[in-house]
Symmetry: C2
Subunit: 145 residues, 2 copies
DNA sequence: AACCATAACTGTAATTATTACAATGTCGAT
DNA sequence: ATCGACATTGTAATAATTACAGTTATGGTT
C-alpha cells in the first residue's frame, strides 16, 4: 500500500495521519499477519528508533475505535490486530501458530439470534492444524508404520 | 444438577471429584452465566471459606484440558467459562453485560475452510444490544421525540 | 520567523490477570 | 498408623495493559 493510500484511509476515518500512525497502518495492511502489539513494536522499532510501545497501544485503540482495525482474539494471552475489517473467519494453527483468513457465509450468524437483538460486531474463529502441519503429521504416521 | 450427576461427569472425564471441583462444576452448570474466574471465586468463597483463587484457575484449566468446559473470550480483558461445550454462539450485550447463548447452523464454519485443514475447535460470538437494552433505547428515542 | 495552543508521542510507574512455586492438607492403600 | 500421591493453598513472580506527566511535533496567527 502506498503512503498516500494509507493517509487517505486514516483521514477519511477522522484520524490525523502522523508519521507513527502511518507506519503502523502500513505495517498492518502490507503484512496481513494479524500481529500483536508486541510484534508490531518489535518489527517497526529498528526503522523508528524512538517508537514507544505505549504509542502502539494508543494507536491501535484509536484505530479500533473508528473501525480501521478489528481485534482478533483466539488464545487468551494474545490480542491480534487486523486491518481487514470485513467479516471473515480466522483459523489459528496450533502447531505453527499461523493465523489464516477464511470466508464465512453471509448471515451465518443472524440465523440464530433472537428478534430484538441488535448486532454491532461478529466474530468467527477456529483452531486446528493447517495443511502444512497436518501434512507433517500424516507423513510421520506413514513413516512410523 | 445433583451432586451425583456432577461427580459422574467429572469421573467419566478422568477427573477426581474433589469437594472444590464439584462445587465449581455445579456452579457452572447451575448458573449458566458464563462467569469469569473472579466471579466464580467471589460467589463460592462465602460457602467455601478456604477456597483459593489459584484452585479456581487450576480447576478450570484442568476442566478445559479434558473439554469439560470451554473458554468464552469476547472482550480482551475477561475470559469466561461455559460448562456447555456443544457448539453454540455467544452474544454479549454492551449495555448490560449479559452473555446470551444462541444456536448456530451446523457446519456454518466448514464452508470456508480450505481442504487439508483439521479443526479442533470453533467459536462464534458477537456483541450488540440485547432485547431489553435495545428496548430502552427505543423508548428513550420515542420519549424525546 | 517567533509565538502559541493543541494534540501526539514517549518513558516510567501503577494496575491487573495469570502462572510458578513451595508448603501444607487430604485420602485411600498398605 | 504410616505412606505416597495428588489436591489445595498463599505468596511471589511474570506479563499485558493502562495511567500519567513531561516532552515534542504541528499548524495557525502575529
Ligand atoms: Mn483477518
Ligand atoms: Mn454458552
Ligand atoms: Zn501450521
Ligand atoms: Zn442488555
Amino acid at each position: 500500500m502506498s503512503r498516500q493510500e494509507a493517509v487517505q484511509i486514516l483521514q477519511t476515518h477522522g484520524i490525523k495521519p502522523s508519521y507513527q500512525r502511518i507506519k503502523i497502518y502500513e505495517y498492518l495492511v502490507d503484512k496481513k499477519n494479524h500481529p500483536t502489539v508486541d510484534t508490531i513494536y518489535r518489527e517497526l522499532s529498528p526503522g523508528l528508533p524512538t517508537l514507544s510501545k505505549t504509542t502502539v497501544y494508543n494507536t491501535l485503540k484509536l484505530f479500533h475505535s473508528v473501525n480501521v482495525v478489528q481485534k482478533v482474539m483466539i488464545e487468551d494471552n494474545e490480542v491480534r490486530f487486523d486491518a481487514d475489517t470485513s467479516i471473515h473467519g480466522h483459523f489459528k494453527c496450533l502447531s505453527c501458530g499461523e493465523v489464516y483468513d477464511f470466508p464465512v457465509q453471509k448471515n451465518a450468524l443472524m440465523y440464530g439470534i433472537p428478534e430484538g437483538f441488535s448486532i454491532t460486531d461478529e466474530h468467527i474463529y477456529c483452531t486446528g492444524y493447517c495443511q502444512d502441519c497436518a501434512q507433517v503429521d500424516t507423513t510421520l504416521l506413514q513413516a512410523s508404520s
